[in-house]
């Protein structure tokens, strides 16, 4: 029997980003769920646990993506779901969000961080890598 595809949750308030990332991930054989805001995404994820989350950072508030990632990592059932943050605000408005070390990344409750637009291959490679290491953890 063919294994069921990984479900990836995409969260972004810009429908164009949702769409392009959906095409990229679906093209690679993943099942994709799209959500325009973190709260709806959390509700959906509680019902159906995704294998990975790709989220925008600045949505309704400047740091909506951060609190979303924190909520995932604090959630009993979702805490192992890898989170990829993709944003255009990494060094805007006097802030510099770019994590420089693994510790900074962990402090963001994120497993990867990219600046928009992320090249399709780069995104896919990271998604594959995160899903693989998670699968290995599950096996051991």
């Amino acid at each position: 029997m063919k294994p069921r595809p990984h479900i990836i949750m995409l969260v972004d308030d810009d429908p164009d980003f949702l769409e392009m990332n959906q095409h990229i991930l679906e093209g690679a054989g993943y099942a994709v769920q799209c959500c325009a805001d973190p709260q709806t995404a959390l509700q959906k994820m509680a019902g159906q646990r995704p294998s990975l989350v790709v989220t925008d950072l600045m949505m309704k508030s400047l740091d909506a993506g951060f609190s979303f990632a924190r909520q995932i990592k604090q959630h009993a059932r979702l805490k192992d779901v890898p989170v990829v943050i993709v944003t255009a605000v990494s060094s805007q408005r006097g802030f510099d969000f770019r994590p420089r070390t693994a510790d900074e990344l962990a402090a963001m409750c994120a497993d990867a961080f990219f600046e928009k637009p992320v090249a399709p291959e780069t995104l896919l490679n990271k998604v594959r890598e995160l899903l693989k290491s998670r699968d290995e953890e599950v096996k051991t």
């Binding site: 392009m20 095409h23 990229i24 679906e26 928009k116």
Partner: protein, 495 residues
């Protein structure tokens, strides 16, 4: 007789004595006037008081010599007063000297015996006059200097920049009123005061370093934060003639407002950068998906992505144009020409411009104008007003779901003409309404995500209305619709 010859007054009751003196003195180049007693002498002096000397007999009727000498001395501090007397005694000599006589000549005398004391007296008089002139000049200079100094002090004290001077021993030796205000903790310490009275460590260090640096005309500038304010501190060394640092002058300029402006400006620039980066990232992202073929080949889907890229590119271009307009308004390069215009006509034109968009969504746009308002003219720039109402009507159509309603109402309102643009659209939450006119603000929800917009339209509308001394207000309810009201001042009616 030459007017410029020095004049001598001879006062004696003996005619022979008067004429004898005149003869001797005239031969010596003096101009001589005579009087027969003290009173007449005083009269003569008062008539033309430019005498360099007076020869006065002691024993005279009406007014004696002692009294005359006293009176003349009181009138002229420099005149050389000589007593001529046949009754020379020590007592009278002392008395005469006390009253102001320079010396006395006992009668009878030879011409030389007369002339010598006169010459001596005149020399002394010249010296005394010269000394007096020098003294007066010196006093005038001192006065000027004092007023110069108080002028400088006044100027320094009136300066809004804080100024203080530190000597080589690191003591504050001068501070102006502004410096005392900026650093109130040291304001009451009497001068000279050690540098340590300054509680601001960076300032202390800066001064210390400058003074320790020794020679050289080095001027140090540094921004220093002090009690919620930012100061540009300039320290310039005071050099002595040998080029050694003998102290430092410090000027503190309050640049707080400039810093705030700078922060606001860089915030705006980074906001603009973000707003430009985002659509560019979308366009790049779509093109990447199409060109890499990573999502497989699907011409129909690719075409959709290209169309969406085009839409974002157009919005971006609009935004750049709007930004340029905003910048022009801010720098004053955007000028409006106000003339009486028919605002009902302008709103009708704006409705015409947006007709197609309304039709596409099945939205009916109602234009309603009361008769009185129709006859009114407002003082405005026609193109600017067309842009204001096109923008508002376009927004109303954009944020109203298909088959909703949009309307424009033109009414008379006191000194103003009131134009209301209303819709039955999605409306705004209170916090969104409060930020509706902010640069780049766009309400974020599922509906607005599908509507292209720059977040600058209403900012420009408000600026334009402000430039016309009008007002713009908004009443809105989430899910019910919005109502934007613009009030514009009426033009004076032609008499």
């Amino acid at each position: 007789m030459n007017e410029d010859n020095p004049r001598i007054l001879v006062v004696d009751d003996e005619l022979g004595m008067r004429e004898g003196c005149r003869k001797i003195l005239t031969a010596e180049g003096f101009e001589v006037e005579t009087a027969e007693d003290g009173l007449a002498g005083l009269e003569t002096f008062k008539r033309r008081p430019s005498f360099v000397a007076a020869l006065v007999d002691l024993k005279m009727p009406r007014m004696g010599g002692i009294e005359l000498i006293e009176k003349l001395r009181a009138l002229d501090t420099d005149i050389v007063l000589l007593v001529i007397t046949a009754y020379a005694t020590i007592d009278t000599a002392v008395e005469a000297t006390k009253r102001g006589a320079y010396g006395y000549i006992p009668k009878p005398f030879t011409p030389d015996e007369l002339l010598l004391p006169i010459r001596n007296g005149l020399d002394r008089r010249a010296l005394s006059i010269e000394a007096k002139r020098l003294r007066e000049e010196r006093e005038r200079r001192l006065l000027e200097l004092a007023s110069e100094r108080s002028k400088s002090n006044t100027i320094i004290n009136c300066m809004t920049d804080g100024v203080f001077v530190v000597n080589r021993e690191k003591q504050i030796v001068l501070r102006n009123a502004a410096a005392a205000r900026i650093m109130p903790e040291s304001a009451h310490v009497p001068l000279p005061a050690p540098l340590t009275v300054l509680t601001c460590a960076p300032l202390r260090d800066l001064l210390g370093e400058t003074l320790d640096a020794g020679s050289g005309p080095l001027i140090v500038s540094k921004e220093i934060a002090l009690d919620k304010c930012t100061y540009m501190v300039n320290v310039s060394p005071v050099l002595d003639p040998s080029g050694e640092t003998s102290g430092a002058v410090t000027v503190l300029r309050d640049i707080t407002a400039l810093k705030k402006l700078e922060t606001a400006k860089s915030m705006f620039v980074s906001m603009v950068a973000h707003e430009i980066k985002n659509p560019l990232a979308v366009i790049e992202g779509y093109l990447n998906v199409i060109l890499t073929g990573i999502a497989g080949q699907d011409p129909k889907r690719d075409r959709e992505m290209l169309q969406k890229s085009l839409l974002r590119a157009r919005t971006l271009r609009t935004m750049v144009a709007e930004l340029m307009n905003l910048t022009a308004m801010e720098t004053g390069h955007f000028t409006i020409a106000r003339s009486p215009i028919d605002i009902a006509k302008v709103t009708a034109d704006a409705v015409e411009f947006t007709k197609e968009k309304a039709r596409d969504k099945g939205i009916e746009v109602a234009l309603d104008c009361d008769d009185q308002a129709a006859s009114e003219r407002v003082l405005a720039d026609r193109d600017a007003m067309l842009s204001v109402f096109t923008n508002l009507i376009d927004n109303a159509i954009k944020y109203t779901p298909a088959h909703g309603r949009v309307g424009i109402r033109v009414e008379q309102n006191g000194m103003y003409v009131k134009v209301t643009v209303w819709d039955t659209g999605i409306g705004m939450a209170p916090e969104e309404r409060d930020r509706a006119f902010d640069e780049f603000f766009r309400a974020k929800n599922e509906y607005t995500a599908k509507v292209p917009g720059t977040g600058l339209g209403l900012t420009i509308v408000k600026r334009l209305v402000d430039m016309h001394h009008g007002t713009i207000t908004v009443i809105t309810q989430r899910g019910k619709g919005s109502e934007f009201t613009v009030r514009l001042p009426k033009a004076e009616k032609a008499p």
